[in-house]
């Protein structure tokens, strides 16, 4: 991936992630999150993970965000009025986040394996979906079926939760 594209999409992802946190209006936050996910999908394309990039756009930027917007509209949330400042949250969260970034910076400086440039792929065009599918259905077959059961349970759980009264 060309460095310019990397910096462009990384900046897009991070700036709109900050906008998600900074926006007072939940709808604006959700739309910023969509742009952030699209930037992340572009980074996945740069890492030759085409299947994951497509899934990211379809599932996250598509399904999950539509669900979020739908619930925001359903609950009819207004932009939240300014309440009293949540000082312990700001101080604690800010401190831990800054400490985390500082630690990461320190560790990445010493992580020599991370200084290597992109290793070249064996083929020019990787058959990405085929390879992911082969790994998914051979090595990780049981977890795949467990995921199917999980989604079934989640679907039933959602139906039960959204019933008005349980009988």
């Amino acid at each position: 991936m060309s460095p310019i594209l990397f910096y462009l999409f990384a900046a897009l992802t991070l700036v709109f992630a900050v906008a998600v946190v900074a926006n007072r209006n939940p709808v604006a936050s959700a739309l910023c999150l969509v742009v952030s996910f699209l930037g992340l999908a572009a980074l996945f394309v740069g890492l030759d993970a085409y299947f994951i990039a497509v899934i990211q756009v379809l599932v996250y930027a598509g399904a999950v965000m539509v669900l979020f917007l739908f619930i925001i509209m359903l609950l009819d949330l207004k932009a939240e009025e300014r309440r009293k400042i949540n000082l312990p949250g700001y101080v604690g969260g800010g401190l831990v986040a800054v400490a985390f970034i500082a630690q990461l910076w320190f560790i990445l400086g010493r992580f020599t394996a991370g200084h290597a440039p992109f290793p070249p792929l064996a083929q020019e065009n990787v058959d990405d979906v085929h390879n992911v599918g082969m790994t998914l259905f051979s090595t990780h077959n049981l977890p795949f079926q467990v995921i199917g059961a999980l989604i079934l349970v989640a679907t039933i759980g959602v139906v039960v939760l959204s019933k008005r009264e349980l009988k």
Binding site: V20, L47, I55, V64, F68, R83, G89, A113, I147
Partner: protein, 106 residues
């Protein structure tokens, strides 16, 4: 100026830190939920970066990409259940503000 694994790990860490800060800063439960999604995506980015930089027979390590696939699936299920809980909560208490929901507070 060449891209290295560290560039991707740094972006992933920054994204995680932003998501974490959002969970701590905001008091709207839906925004907190969106910040959780940001943190999950930060983990996905570092997994895909590791997969691309640790080649197996000249191909990316697809075990990591399958793990990302699982994370996305579980996150989608989690969003569905979480939003259903938020709707049920809104019906009972008419609020999405976490400070108004304190029945279990010591």
């Amino acid at each position: 100026m060449t891209l290295t694994l560290n560039h991707y790990l740094l972006v992933s860490g920054l994204l995680f830190a932003i998501g974490f800060a959002g969970v701590m800063f905001r008091r709207n439960i839906i925004i907190i939920f969106m910040c959780l999604e940001l943190m999950l995506n930060a983990a996905n980015l570092s997994l895909v970066a590791f997969s691309r930089f640790n080649l197996v027979n000249g191909l990316p390590n697809y075990n990591a990409q399958v793990l990302v696939f699982f994370i996305i699936t579980v996150a989608a299920a989690e969003v569905a259940v979480g939003l259903a809980i938020i709707v049920a909560l809104y019906r009972a208490r008419q609020t999405t503000h976490v400070e108004d929901i304190n029945s279990l507070k010591f």
